[in-house]
């Protein structure tokens, strides 16, 4: 005999305690529990060997739809109506029965000897003969109970079945009794509670029972319905937190931008392919954008272009509006504000490029960009920042590749080593060219770098398709690990 019965099992046992056989219905009535609880308790008690179970074939009788509609059997209606004699044609309309019921009432009344049909001068007369209550009583009993269960169906109901007033279904019935030699009192001492309740604590009953062990990891518990922050936005927050911890202050700039800040101030010549229609989005709305660059800065930028690139710089082209193609535009704006050295600024924000959406491209995407300014800063300092950043992100192997950007010189691309993917580009950077800093009035070196946050997030989350970052699927968001945990595990 296995130890421990549950609360509902205990209730069923108590009901069985008086002895005798019980059906599930009996037990439901005795315990006031729903049938589902009772049957699971019976199943439990049976598996513990505490009760005996017998199963037998039963017949369940119910009214048919037609039976439900009848208040009385039609022959009973006619028996009362005709009394000492009514012409049949008058009875047809006067009895209140439908033509079908009237027909059936006459047929069965005659067959059962309750009615008699005589012929006289005034036509055929229907009169009552002898009262027969057998079928009527069976019918009334069923109407009252709704359903009746029999080992063997009485003939009255078989007759009613033939008349399609009742239906008979086969059903198996479980009957249970206490197993031989079981002491309900003893078993109840082993009662198990499945959950601790408020009442258990206030009544102090918790000391009298043991909760059943719960096998963690074996159930089919799925994730709960819940709220969740987006993993990619959290990843960006983590990067932001790292930068703030390194003394970087956040800067923000507009998505819609003058070409001046997006290109000219960054020494991108006006005939550069990146400035053409097929690369950057031109703004068509009639709209003004904040303060314009100072005349002085504009003139100096123009002169730097004319000297460096040898073409005639056009101030009108610099005033056109585009959706910014890189966050370096924000760095240019910040530098033009002539911040006091030393300084460290960063931004992580959206940029726009005319690209088709595919596995590796999104038309708007995030860039993380930082600038560090101060006298006596060097290219080796830039490498130092890239290394520190990478290590904060859990990257231990970093190598540097010479690179090219129109606005930095020397320029570098930091490659991180990934166990499965090999060397991946993660951190471009460089020292801003004098053609960038001098026209904006900055007289000391400014180190500039970026982190490929999108690429990194994809690597951390093992994503092969950039579109997974803008997924519209709830499960894809809910199933992701927290970003700070991801970085900690790297």
């Amino acid at each position: 005999m296995s130890a421990g019965v549950t609360e509902t099992e205990a209730m069923v046992l108590k009901a069985l305690g008086g002895g005798g056989e019980f059906s599930l219905d009996d037990l439901c009535e005795a315990t006031r529990l729903p049938v589902a609880s009772v049957s699971s308790a019976v199943e439990g008690l049976w598996s513990k060997g505490l009760l005996q179970r017998s199963e037998s074939k039963l017949y369940e009788v119910r009214l048919t739809e037609r039976g439900e509609k009848l208040g009385k059997l039609p022959e009973d209606v006619l028996y009362e109506y005709v009394g000492e004699g009514v012409p049949i044609d008058a009875a047809k309309t006067g009895s209140g029965l439908s033509p079908d019921d009237f027909k059936a009432g006459v047929a069965w009344g005659l067959r059962r000897g309750m009615l008699r049909l005589t012929t006289s001068d005034s036509g055929r007369i229907l009169t009552k003969s002898a009262q027969k209550r057998d079928l009527s009583e069976a019918f009334d009993k069923l109407r009252e109970k709704g359903r009746l269960v029999f080992d063997e169906v009485p003939h009255e109901y078989m007759d009613l079945k033939a008349r399609q007033i009742v239906e008979v279904r086969e059903a198996s019935s479980v009957r249970v009794r206490l197993a031989q030699g079981v002491s309900v009192h003893e078993v109840l001492k082993t009662r198990v509670h499945t959950a601790l309740t408020h009442r258990d604590i206030t009544a102090g009953s918790y000391s009298r029972f043991t909760l059943p062990p719960y096998a963690f990891g074996s159930s089919e518990a799925t994730a709960a319905l819940r709220g969740k922050r987006h993993f990619y936005k959290e990843f960006i927050s983590t990067v932001r937190e790292i930068l703030v911890s390194m003394g970087f202050e956040e800067m923000l700039g507009p998505y819609m931008e003058y070409e001046f800040w997006n290109f000219d101030a960054l020494f991108v010549p006006q005939n550069h392919t990146a400035r053409e229609e097929h690369d950057s989005y031109a703004v068509s709305s009639d709209v003004r954008l904040g303060p314009r660059p100072s005349r002085e800065a504009a003139l100096r930028v123009g002169r730097a272009h004319e000297k460096g690139w040898g073409y005639r710089w056009d101030a009108v082209a610099a005033g056109r509006l585009v959706l910014r193609s890189h966050t370096t535009a924000v760095s240019a704006r910040r530098l033009a504000e002539k911040p006091t050295a030393p300084f460290k600024y960063f931004t992580i924000d959206r940029n726009f490029r005319r690209d088709a959406i595919d596995q590796t491209h999104l038309p708007d995407f995030d860039q993380c960009e930082g600038i560090v300014g101060g006298p006596s800063l060097t290219f080796r300092n830039l490498l130092g920042f890239l290394e520190a950043l990478a290590s904060s992100l859990g990257i231990t192997k970093l190598r540097f590749k010479p690179s090219y950007f129109p606005f930095t010189e020397p320029s570098v691309e930091g490659y991180a080593y990934h166990g499965e993917l090999g060397w991946i580009e993660v951190a471009p950077g460089g020292v801003f060219r004098p053609e960038v800093t001098r026209p904006l009035g900055i007289k000391f070196p400014v180190l500039a770098w970026g982190i490929g946050v999108t690429r990194l997030a994809m690597v951390y989350y093992g994503l092969t398709d950039i579109r997974e970052l803008i997924t519209q699927d709830l499960d894809a968001v809910v199933s992701k690990e927290e970003a700070s945990a991801k970085v900690a595990h790297m």
């Binding site: 927050s237 911890s245 959706l323 060097t378 290219f379 080796r380 890239l386 010189e409 570098v412 699927d473």
Partner: protein, 545 residues
Amino acid sequence: MPTCRISSSLLRKLIGDVTPELLEEAVFNLKGEMRVSGKDYELELTSDRPDMMCASGLARAVKGYLGVEKGEPKYVAADTDFTVRVDVSSLSGIRPYCDFLVVKGVKADAEVIGDILAYQEKLHSTLSAGRVKFAIGVHDYSRLQSHALVYQARDPSQIVFTPLNGDAPMNANNILTSTDKGVEYAHLLKGCAKYPVFATEEGEVLSMPPIINAKLTQVSENTTDFIVDVTGTDRRLTHAACEMVAYNICEYGGALCRPAITGLKVVPRRKFRLSVGGVNRLLGTSFTAKDVVENLSKSRLDAAAAGGAVHVNVPGYRVDLIDDVDLVEDVAVMAGYNGFTPERPSLATIGGVQPSTRLASAARNSLASLGFVEFNSLLLTSENQPPNPFPEIGYVRVSNPYSKELNRLRAWLYPGLLWIVFRNQTKPKPLQVYEVGAVAYVSCGEYVQAVHAAAAISANTADSLTVEKLFNSFCRDTGYRAEFENIHVPSFIRGRSAYLKSGGSAAGFIGEVDPSVLVEMGIDYPVALFEVELHKMAFKGLTLT
């Protein structure tokens, strides 16, 4: 980044025996990437070094990096009897700039010629942006009777020659309308009364730039003597491209000659005086003048130390060298970036984030804890959206969208949320989704950027009471103060929506979405939502806060 395909056997012939690993390392440090593709190498190179985009140009740089050859190559200067007369006045406003070089005694074969011609096309498509800035012609001059050349613009009717791949003489207008190249590049001469032509004084035509060369001087694998002509609209690049092509032909063993050009100023070589202290200040190194000279020579530049400075005489083909810092990078590249010890300076600065970032963070925490799942969407959206709840607000539109679906910046987050509800209709209810993020719009003609928060709930019933409770909790969490104005919001159920006002100005809306809007989007469940403007950005100086 521009790409090119280079024959591996040709590259080996030029460089000598070098393992693919060493070659790959050299290319990596010359800012490129290399992949083996059959018998060829596929290269990706940065756009600042167009001189390296062929086998011979790359070989020159790689040999320097490996230390096999140093300094600027000494292509033997041979004498030439070629002269070029430039008729400057006729060319003004058409293609005023030009340059010419002669290379003789080249031992070419089919592979070499293939490399030279492919290089020419590579420069046309990248640096020249489709023959706009300059056009290159490479000719076999052995067929010419006269060595007196003339470059001028002539009346189209006076230009008659057999074009490349043609079999009979044609006039200029026919060439523009009935040859492939003519059709492809005719737009470059549009509106010109005269067309440029490169010919001998005897009338032998070499080319009609920037359209097509003549058949007469077509190069073949038997060509040993070349004329390179470059004509263009950009003086600096025209000169540089001529050197790039001629020098890269010279790498195959040719001798370089400069014809006497009359009528045009020769572009002088550029000279830099590089301070050794300046190099070390920028890099954080302690190079001597000798180190600097050595590294520049590996970058195939002639440099000489004198009085604490290094003097560098720069060839025209190095278009990337504009300022001292460009030479400093060459020094650093040849010294090897990975040989520098990274050094993190200790700068006492205080970090921090913008108020909008803090507010967004509070809003995100609140909504997640209220049971909403966060989404991340594009800022670019389409016109196909529910009606604008604030009709006085305009959109930031782009005139050249890549696809029609993405042609303006989002001014609201809630349309994106409705699409997300649509996509997740089969998921367990209640479905609760949110987004906190940037929006941009036009208000009173001014560009406005703001951070919005929007949250939507969808279930068998999603009513105003439910969403108001969630909104009230959100307000408590974020300290957001809003008043309800029970005025109908377009695209919401009449009588079951309200505008939100914060600090006296319109700040958002809340309510039950109109079923007709839901049906239009294919959503089968009720949706209630709210959206608020958490923070409107303002310019403080030139940046936003």
